[in-house]
Each structure stands twice: as structure tokens, then as C-alpha cells.
């Protein structure tokens, strides 16, 4: 079985969350390689990743919202159920 398939199977069969570092170690890959492989599955539409959004457009803080919290990048299995078509956010910037 290829490492790409093992990676996907690992995520599909999992019942919880992984950190990039722990998963890379488990599959004997470098974190960079793991991310590259995750990118492959993203291109194939099997996994989706959070992407960067600079502002939500709901207020006048224009990117200077003090409640901005840097969100960690996540990779999630595409399940098809009620999935949103719009890109999702990575950095949240929104405050009244």
C-alpha cells in the first residue's frame, strides 16, 4: 500500500484529531512531506484545508480587530454532508 493511501486510510479510520507532528512521526515522514501529501489529497478533493481570510467585512476594524486569534491550519476529511462550498477561514478578523 502506498504511503499516500496509508495516510488517507489513517485519517479515515481515525476517531479523533491528529497533530501534524505526531502523525508525521507515526508515518515516518517529515512534517513538510506530510503537508505535501495532504496537499495531494486536497487536490484530489478527499481532504479540505482551512484557508486564510483577511477580514469578514462585518465591521470597520479593517484587519485591526483586537480579538483576532490566529487559528491553526487544519486538514479535514471531506464527508460531503452539508459541506460548505465557500473557502473557510484561517485567520479570524471580525468584531463589531
Amino acid at each position: 500500500m502506498s504511503k499516500l493511501s496509508i495516510l488517507l486510510a489513517k485519517i479515515e479510520e481515525s476517531s479523533g484529531a491528529f497533530s501534524i507532528q505526531a502523525l508525521a512521526r507515526e508515518l515516518d515522514l517529515s512534517p513538510e512531506r506530510l503537508e505535501s501529501m495532504l496537499e495531494y489529497w486536497i487536490r484530489k478533493g478527499k481532504i479540505q484545508s482551512s484557508t486564510k481570510l483577511t477580514e469578514c467585512g462585518s465591521c470597520s476594524s479593517q484587519g485591526d480587530c483586537p480579538f483576532v486569534l490566529e487559528m491553526p491550519r487544519t486538514y479535514e476529511l471531506v464527508t460531503g454532508q452539508d459541506q460548505l462550498t465557500d473557502p473557510v477561514t484561517h485567520v479570524i478578523c471580525t468584531h463589531k
Binding site: 499516500l4 484529531a17 462585518s58
Partner: protein, 751 residues
């Protein structure tokens, strides 16, 4: 004839910097035909020769899944540039070489510009240029540092050489024998068709057909190459039968294996088998069993720090506003003859009592944002989603849903918008719904004032209990909704990039703390000031002519007092059915900070006036300064006292609160508002002990009832009117039920 060189590479590898350095001001910027992707080309002069340099879009691969990938490969396949300069990030070679392997498959001369070599060196990577070149079939590899224009001459020379003598690399076995055999079979078929041979490079086309590249297949269909397509389908079936893998995955995997071989032979990397410091910390703090208790302990420490350590400064600001500012404002008003006028009352009972009543809590918020800032900047907060994943899964959501909730600890409005990080529509709605139960910073002053009044030194525990209750109510609500009205499949597993731990940067934490607190100050000068003036007006207007004249009416007989009194019986079962508490809750819908400002205004009128002193202005100033010093001194002591308070959490251990700095042990006085609250709640609930239970019930109601109007309108904007009303109704019902339960059960326990 002008030769063409294309620059290709992953995004953010410094491709544009190299392009600018090579072409200088001889550039043309436009769009790729029919696309919105920017196209840049420019001229590079090598001696007498002019070379057109085309900057291709950044891409990780040459498949046909994104517009950037299609543009890049169509340009190379159709325009057939003389050579491609593959710009790679030397610090992330592992990832970047995947694209290089595909460029080489295109059977075109490739030059590797090994960019950012300075960063690679800092990370301990030693790259053998000779080894890398050999592994890539002898293609030129040039070291560059684009932002310092280093290696530019070598790169220009390499381009000049390739232009004179274009040759492709002689790469040995990117793919296994079994794949290569199928490529060879298809290649023979392709070479037998002149039109295909002239358009595509046969080896590349054969590989793409094995990968079942839909863009290529569509082009061949229109070229009536059905025979080739059938052969490709048969080849794919054979490969799948023999390997049990989809050929596309098989080929991609073998590219990765090829990159592995290059990395092993050409790159000397620090050993990665050693667990990093961050991983060692994560083994403890994100542990399946210990992770959650550690998270709870840290949150407990945050609220101990927030309420106890800020206490001395809170008292100082209270004295400063309600004694110094108030005393000298009254003095000025009397001097100018407005002492007993409505204007004087508006300033002292409206503005100072209302806005000042809220400003007292600035130290509390400063310390809260300081503690949260340290947790964020250290990298721990990102782990919260990880730690909470198991708990969140129990109610059908996954750990990612906890991130918007964490934002809710600061403010509910961005928490609602933060649900956009979730890919599932139902999860978004539900998470936004639950995020409103997270205690925002605006609710904190309520807990602090009640904690200090009714629980003294244990006020931090009340604050922590409120935050915890918010999480628990959210979890229960989520569980019930996911198993009844909001049924859906179990949450999808996810992989999360955890930032490395680091020592928090003082400047970053300070800036964040200040900016967040500034938001509170701005609100004090706008919303709270407006509400305070409006409230003063409503409290100055008599409900009936018989009850008094304008500004000469008992607060309970004012328009505000009477209207609040009409609703007050609703809260009688919860132990706080007075018009004062009801009025505060009603105005609190505008903004949660207003609850405290309203109470300050109401109780300022009712409490016994502060005994004035005969100090001069200078003497008062000195007193304020000394008070500040004392507050700073006590803050240090309270910070140290967090240690014994934490140790006392261990069952059967009680080492007391150490007085490490040998302070005089003097008990701090209650603030004016705290004193008034104790009296009022005792009176409404019936006894001192019942007053305490009623105070807790009041805090529970504040925690759970309707979030502020901004949060409600954010819900409407994101999820519609129906969802907004559902949330408003639910929060009101759950808040009332919980408050009544706390009071009634608490009373039973007293018996």
C-alpha cells in the same frame, strides 16, 4: 529569434524576487489569456542576446486541479520554452522537489535555482549541490538568495549555457519498472501519431494518461485519439490489478519515493527522530487523560490571576473615581452653582456613577487579557481544540468547534463569525449557538463585583465556576441538539498544525492586552455613556405626578423603577426579584458591561453618601499616589499567593494563603457598589445566606441569558432571523431555569 525561459516554483519561494532581479525594469504585467491570474514577463540580457523570462503562477504540482497548475503546464507544453528555471525553497526542499520531478518528466531543459539557502543553513540543512544535480540527471543547480541578489550571476550564466546548449536531464528511474513498462507501451503508440508527437512530449503524455488526467483526456478526445485512450484505460487496469492501487496514487507515491532518494543522498538534515521540546510538552498537555485536567487547571489559574491579582488595583481605581474624582467634581459643581441642579445630578449620578462604575473594572480586564495573551502567544491556546476534541465529539461536534468558543471568552461577536472556519453548515450554526454561552470579557465585571462582595478572597473561584458552567451548559445543549433536532453523521476526523511553543513576547502580549482593553474603554465613552445618560433620564422622570418631580423622585418610583418593577416578579423564584436587578438585566441586553454601570447608578442614589474628608486637593493627590503604590505592592503579593491557592486545590491540603511579603494583613474594604449589593441581595432573598445564593443565581442568569445586541445581530446576519430568535428564546429559558434551580436547590441545602 528570442528564446524563452519560464520561472516555475511553489508559492512563496521567492520566485517573483528572482524574476525582478533577472529582468529589472524590463517587465510587462498583464493577465493570462482568458484568466484572472496575473502574468508577468520581462527581458533578460545575456551579452547581446535578449531572453524573454516568463514568471509562471506558483503551484505545488502539474496536475489539472487548479487554474495555476493548468496555466503552468499548458504554457510549458504548448509554448515550449527553451528551458524552465525551477525556483525551490532550499529550506523546504522535501516539499519543493515534488514539482521539480514533474518538470523533469516534461522532458524539457530544467535549471534548479536553490533559493533561500541562507534559511536552509540556519535550519541546519547542508545540501550537496553536486549530489543534487547528479540525482536530478545532471541538470544545473545554482544556489541563490533572491532578496540579497546573491547567486544571480551564477544563475544568469547557467541560463546562458542552457540557451546555447539545451539538454534535458538524464534522470534514472523516477518510476518503478512496472510503471515504466506501461509508459513505454503508451509512448510507442503516441510516437506513431505525428499530430500527437508534435503537440505533446510522448513520455509526459503517457504518464498523464496513466494518471487519468482529465484535462489531457478531454484534449485527446477532441483529437480523435480513441485508440490511445482505450490503450491507456487498459494500461491503468493492468497497473491496478498488479498493484492494488489507483495508478494516479501509485505514480504520485513513486514521485515522493524518488524525492526521498534525492533527499537521502544529497541533503544532510538534523536527525528528526529526536522528539522536539514542543512535542515533549505536547505529550503531557495534550495527553488523552491529562490534557483536559491540565486545561482546566490553567483556566483556573487564569481566573485566579484575573480576579485576585487585579483586586488591589480595582480597589484603587474605585477610590480614585468614586472618592477623588467624585469629590472634586462635586466641589467644582458647587463652586459654579450647579451643586443641586439637574446638571450636577446628571454628571455625578449619571456619568460618573455609570461610566465610572464600569471603568473601575479596567484592571480586571487588563489582567484577563494579559493572562489570555500569554496563553495565546505561548502557543497553548491552539492546543485547546485538540484537548477538547474528545469532549466535543461526545456531543457530535469536533475539536475545531471549540476554537470559536475560545474566541467567545474575549467577545461573542467574533466568536459567531469565527464559525466560518467550520466546513459543515449544521456545525456552524450549532457552534455559533453554543459560543454565546462562553463568558465574554464584558460579563467579567459582574462576576468580579459579586465575587468580591460575597466570596472575598475566593472570588476567583466564583469567576472560574461561571466560565466552567458556560462550557458545561454549551456541551449539554450541544449534546441534546445533536441527538434530537440536529442529527447528523459523526464529525470528520482532522489533522491540525500545532505551532511550536515559545516564550511569550512581552511586546506582542502587551499590545494585544492594550488593544483589547482599549475596545472596552471606547465602549465606555460611547455605548455606556449613552446608556448612562438615558438611564439617568429615566430614573429622573417620575412614573406619576404624585410620586415626585423631575430629578426629585425616589428611584423606585421613577419611570425606570416602575417599568423594571413590573418585570421583577418573574425573578422572584430565583431570589433576585427586585426592580434594581431586573432593570440592570434589561439594560444589560444592550451591552453586558451596562449591567454594572446600571447597578452603580441605581445603588449610588440609594447608598449612604461617602463621608467627605477635609483634605486639600494636593493632599488627596498624594493619597491617590500612595494608594497606587500600595496597590502595586499588594498585586505582587497576590501574584505570589496564587501558588498556595493552587496547592490548596489538592484534597485535604490547606496551607493557607501565605503572607510572603509580610503585609499588615489589613482586610480590604468593600467598594461602595459591593457594600450596596450585599445589603440589597440580603433584603430581597430574605437572609444573608440566602442573599449569597441569590447572588450566585443572578450571576448564572447573567452568564446564560441573551448575549448583547451586537452578538444577536451577528447571529441574524450569519444565520437568519429564525435562528436568531431561536437563540434569544432558548437563552432566556435556560438562564431563568438555571437561576431558579440554583436558588431553590441552594435554599434546600441550607435547611
Amino acid at each position: 529569434m528570442t528564446k524563452t525561459i519560464a520561472l516555475a516554483g511553489n508559492p512563496n519561494v521567492g520566485k517573483s524576487t528572482l524574476f525582478n532581479a533577472l529582468t529589472g525594469s524590463h517587465q510587462h504585467v498583464g493577465n493570462w489569456p482568458g484568466k484572472t491570474v496575473e502574468k508577468k514577463d520581462g527581458l533578460l540580457r545575456i551579452g547581446e542576446q535578449e531572453i524573454l523570462v516568463v514568471d509562471l503562477p506558483g503551484t505545488y504540482s502539474l496536475t489539472a486541479y487548479s487554474i495555476e497548475e493548468i496555466i503552468t503546464r499548458d504554457f510549458i507544453v504548448n509554448e515550449k520554452p527553451t528551458a524552465v528555471v525551477a525556483v525551490v525553497n532550499a529550506a523546504n526542499l522535501d516539499r519543493n522537489l515534488y514539482l521539480v520531478t514533474q518538470l523533469i518528466e516534461l522532458d524539457i531543459p530544467v535549471i534548479v535555482a536553490l533559493n533561500m539557502t541562507d534559511v536552509a543553513l540556519r535550519r541546519g540543512l547542508t545540501i550537496s549541490i553536486k549530489g543534487l544535480s547528479e540525482r536530478l540527471g545532471g541538470i544545473p543547480v545554482v544556489e541563490t538568495v533572491g532578496n540579497r541578489s546573491e547567486g544571480l550571476e551564477d544563475l544568469t550564466n547557467a541560463i546562458g549555457m542552457v540557451i546555447k546548449n539545451p539538454h534535458t536531464g538524464n534522470v534514472q528511474t523516477t518510476f518503478s519498472d512496472i510503471v515504466q513498462n506501461e509508459i513505454a507501451i503508451l509512448k510507442i503508440l503516441i510516437e506513431g501519431q505525428d499530430q500527437l508527437k508534435d503537440t505533446f512530449r510522448p513520455g509526459w503524455l503517457a504518464t498523464k494518461l496513466l494518471e487519468n488526467d482529465q484535462d489531457v483526456v478531454a484534449k485527446l478526445r477532441s483529437s480523435e485519439a480513441e485508440e490511445l485512450l482505450e490503450a491507456a484505460q487498459a494500461a491503468r487496469a493492468r497497473l491496478e490489478n498488479q498493484t492494488g492501487e489507483d495508478p494516479e496514487i501509485l505514480i504520485a507515491d513513486q514521485r515522493y519515493q524518488f524525492v526521498d532518494k534525492i533527499m537521502d543522498s544529497a541533503v544532510d538534515r538534523p536527525r528528526e527522530t529526536a522528539i522536539t521540546r514542543s512535542e515533549m510538552i505536547d505529550n503531557v498537555v495534550t495527553h488523552k487523560i491529562w490534557g483536559l485536567p491540565i486545561f482546566m487547571l490553567l483556566m483556573w489559574l487564569v481566573f485566579q490571576f484575573t480576579s485576585n491579582v487585579s483586586g488591589p488595583f480595582l480597589d484603587w481605581v474605585d477610590v480614585f473615581i468614586n472618592e477623588f474624582i467624585l469629590k472634586w467634581t462635586v466641589w467644582v459643581l458647587e463652586i459654579i452653582g450647579l451643586g443641586n441642579s439637574w446638571i450636577g445630578s446628571l454628571i455625578t449620578d449619571g456619568v460618573i456613577a455609570g461610566v465610572g462604575g464600569v471603568l473601575v473594572f479596567v484592571p480586571v480586564l487588563l489582567f484577563l487579557y494579559l493572562a489570555l495573551g500569554i496563553m495565546e502567544d505561548s502557543g497553548y491556546m491552539a492546543r485547546a481544540a485538540f484537548v477538547m476534541d474528545r469532549v466535543m465529539r461526545w456531543m457530535g461536534l469536533h475539536g475545531k468547534s471549540f476554537l470559536p468558543m475560545i474566541i467567545g471568552f474575549g467577545c461573542t461577536v467574533p466568536a459567531v463569525y469565527a464559525t466560518r472556519t467550520l466546513e459543515n453548515e449544521k456545525d456552524r450554526k450549532l457552534t455559533a449557538f453554543l459560543a454565546t454561552f462562553m463568558s465574554c470579557g464584558a460579563r467579567l465585571p459582574v462576576y468580579v463585583v459579586f465575587g468580591a462582595a460575597f466570596f472575598g478572597a475566593a472570588s476567583g473561584t466564583l469567576v472560574f465556576a461561571m466560565y466552567l458552567l458556560g462550557i458545561v451548559v454549551a456541551l449539554i445543549t450541544g449534546f441534546v441538539m445533536k441527538n434530537t433536532v440536529y442529527k447528523s453523521q459523526p464529525p470528520a476526523p482532522f489533522v491540525m498544525e500545532l505551532p511550536p511553543y515559545r516564550i511569550p513576547h512581552f511586546r506582542d502580549v502587551w499590545q494585544q492586552m492594550w488593544e483589547r482593553t482599549q475596545g472596552f474603554l471606547v465602549k465606555s465613552g460611547t455605548v455606556i455613556l449613552g446608556v448612562s445618560v438615558a438611564l439617568w433620564l429615566l430614573m429622573a422622570i417620575p412614573a406619576h405626578q404624585e410620586t415626585g418631580l423631575f430629578n426629585q423622585v425616589d428611584a423606585g418610583d421613577s419611570l425606570f423603577g416602575r417599568i423594571s418593577g413590573l418585570i421583577a416578579p418573574v425573578f422572584k423564584p430565583a431570589g433576585f426579584g427586585s426592580w434594581q436587578t431586573t432593570g440592570s438585566l434589561v439594560t444589560g441586553i444592550l451591552a453586558k458591561e451596562v449591567i454594572v454601570s446600571t447597578m452603580s447608578q441605581i445603588y449610588a442614589g440609594e447608598s449612604v453618601a461617602v463621608e467627605g474628608n477635609n483634605n486639600t486637593f494636593q493632599q488627596d493627590l498624594v493619597s491617590v499616589g500612595m494608594g497606587f503604590g500600595r496597590a502595586a505592592y499588594l498585586t505582587v503579593q497576590e501574584t505570589i499567593n496564587i501558588i498556595p491557592r493552587t496547592i490548596n486545590l489538592i484534597p485535604f491540603v490547606n496551607i493557607g494563603n501565605l503572607d510572603l511579603l509580610k503585609s499588615d494583613g489589613e482586610e480590604l474594604d468593600y467598594t461602595r457598589l459591593e457594600g450596596s449589593l450585599i445589603t440589597a441581595f440580603e433584603k430581597t432573598a430574605g437572609s444573608p445566606r440566602e442573599g449569597i445564593i441569590a447572588a450566585v443565581a443572578f450571576n448564572v442568569f447573567v452568564l446564560l441569558y441573551i448575549p448583547c445586541v451586537s452578538a444577536v445581530s451577528a447571529m441574524r446576519q450569519e444565520f437568519g432571523r429564525r435562528w436568531m430568535w431561536a437563540q434569544v428564546s432558548y437563552t432566556l429559558i435556560i438562564a431563568w431555569t438555571a437561576a431558579v434551580l440554583v436558588f431553590q436547590v441552594g435554599k434546600l441545602m441550607l435547611v
